[in-house]
Symmetry: C2
Subunit: 352 residues, 2 copies
């Protein structure tokens, strides 16, 4: 893992221009990046948005706040290990946590399709409340809109979050440096496969359960070890591990090489992926994080992660290199090295 | 307008329990209030949310911030005087402004139905950007989700906003006191009728244009006159003037009496309402505000409003009383007094 890969990687062919929005534009992959680059970024030119992190760090009268937003359109609403309510809390709390912020306040905005059973709404709201209470964030403001039957799909939820960023914490995807280590907090693919199984009625010997969980206390434990030697945190949600690492490689203009053998994947997830022709590197997670850390603190941060219930299976899975900037590569179990590109479109739509 | 109304008002019959969400639950009227009271408030018990203001005022390390969220599902996306992009900025900026806050940052989250023409998205984003730039708020964080054709309706946008609350500003709907005056910044019903006309293909001799506008500078001008004698500001959006004043009457446990003759309504809006059987008191506005102010400052605040381009037609339209707590009444042009209740359901769905 210490050597740099020898091969040269060629750029993928650019995607043709699209005149309509496709499902893949919401995938977190290449089409999403295209939409961002061609429509959103040119419109809202500002240095905060241009950082393309999962959260904005803004300063108000010297106070550093993390501010983030996420809409949740997951289908089905309920799945093994969670539902749209708990997911809406965990997703936004995790976006704050990836900025090193302590989550403080949430907003919750509901777009309801006419005819949604009141009992469904009640269950989702109860789950959202419970998730918020267990994190210790308060839902302080909200909104409800109702659209006609056929103009929505049961229920969409937007949560925005506000958190306090501790002094000395400055994570960003453009800070990975050659020599840094890549840490992963646990097994990948659980959330995506759990949703897919529920949606398609697949049954496994041991059921796959979403890893949906709030990561703020895991991050706090890592911050106890070091604040300034953590370059960047990401939760590999839509687009999975590969999209998150590709983004970091691109933003930091470094090469990242990961080691297939070091990446934990549950047997049942591996099996489901083989059966369905999916690659776990691209499957969404909702309770995992990647950390890029300076080499000298890697072992200590790893130990802190493993001491936390949500990081017990944490691994050092790769290294940052100066060569092949913008490229993610993986040493396979067979000993070869392959390029791990971002997906163009969508493996699994409406996963979150 | 100074005397209290003599008649007694009886409580309306309670609505039966519903087991499904209806369009009216998004109306801003009684059904919305019911949903809030029965599902959302019990779940998220906290004093900030319980204030039921358009924005949460939260304190972080002594800094007072306004935090608000709104989803926009307006149909059609483009209408005379605006579109979903500018509306998404104005709506959230106004929610911040109604708390007396200076708007600072916005998030923007898009839920796109597969197949939306890229050109439509581009136009909406350009309009959102322009509206944000003209207010001076920065869009610092965002999100994009795409749902399958038939699972959405073109485009929904959520914006959340963050603002700074100046010292000495403490507006809340529970602070109206007997003797206070009710000020209205201009004519009512323009937005709702503009949307309806566009949606239904109605044509008027002089076209009705939405009043969609950001009210933060109007509020700033009012704050120059007084900070502590303004009890409460509201922008009468969904549910119109009547819902906003009913809410204040209920939260403050006061009676409010307004004077029909003093309420500006454009001739074309009046005509359209008569034709369509609508009451302008219930039609949505997106660039108007109501202020409840202490009697001794009413004339000075009115003068400040009239000196501002968005308050030129401002009027004192009513008075707060101790009698009939929770009730809004109106002296009609005929000299009678009638109760102005909240609507149960929806006059016009998807108005914002």
């Amino acid at each position: 893992m210490e050597d740099e890969p020898k091969s040269d990687f060629s750029c993928p062919v650019p995607l043709p221009a699209r005149d309509k929005v496709l499902l893949g534009h919401g995938s977190g992959g290449k089409l999403s990046a295209e939409l961002l680059r061609e429509i959103f970024l040119p419109a809202f030119q500002n240095p905060i948005l241009a950082r393309l992190d999962d959260q904005a760090i803004v300063s108000v009268d010297g106070l550093r706040l993390a501010f983030t937003t996420d809409s949740f359109v997951v289908s089905p609403l309920f799945f093994p290990g969670g539902d749209i309510g708990s997911l809406a809390v965990h997703g936004t709390v995790n976006d704050l946590a990836m900025g090193g912020a302590q989550p403080l306040f949430l907003s919750a905005a509901f777009i309801i399709e006419e005819g949604l059973p009141m009992e469904t709404l009640r269950r989702v709201v109860a789950s959202l409340r419970e998730a918020a209470a267990s994190v210790g964030v308060e839902v302080v403001t909200g909104d409800t809109k109702v659209v006609e039957k056929g103009s929505g799909d049961q229920l969409f939820i937007n949560t925005s979050g506000l958190g306090r960023v501790p002094e000395g914490v400055n994570f960003s995807a453009d800070q990975a440096r050659p020599g840094d280590r890549v840490l992963l907090s646990g097994s990948i693919g659980d959330h995506g496969i759990a949703i897919l199984a529920e949606r398609e009625g697949l049954e496994f010997e041991s059921p796959v359960v979403s890893d949906s969980a709030p990561l703020h206390t895991l991050v706090a434990a890592m911050l106890e070890v070091t604040r300034d030697s953590i370059r960047c945190l990401r939760d590999p949600t839509r687009g999975g591990l590969s999209s998150a690492l590709n983004e970091i490689a691109g933003r930091s203009q470094v090469g990242i090489v990961i080691d297939e053998q070091a990446i934990p994947v549950r047997e049942e997830v591996k099996g489901a992926c083989e059966l369905l022709g999916l690659d776990p590197l691209y499957v969404a997670n909702e309770g995992k994080l990647i950390a890029i850390v300076a080499p000298e603190v890697a072992e200590a941060v790893l130990a802190a992660m493993r001491a936390h219930p949500l990081g017990r299976e944490a691994q050092i899975i790769g290294t940052v290199h100066a060569s092949n900037p913008g490229v993610l590569a993986m040493r396979t179990v067979l000993g070869t090295t392959r390029l791990v590109d971002m997906l163009a479109g969508d493996q699994l739509p409406r996963i979150c």
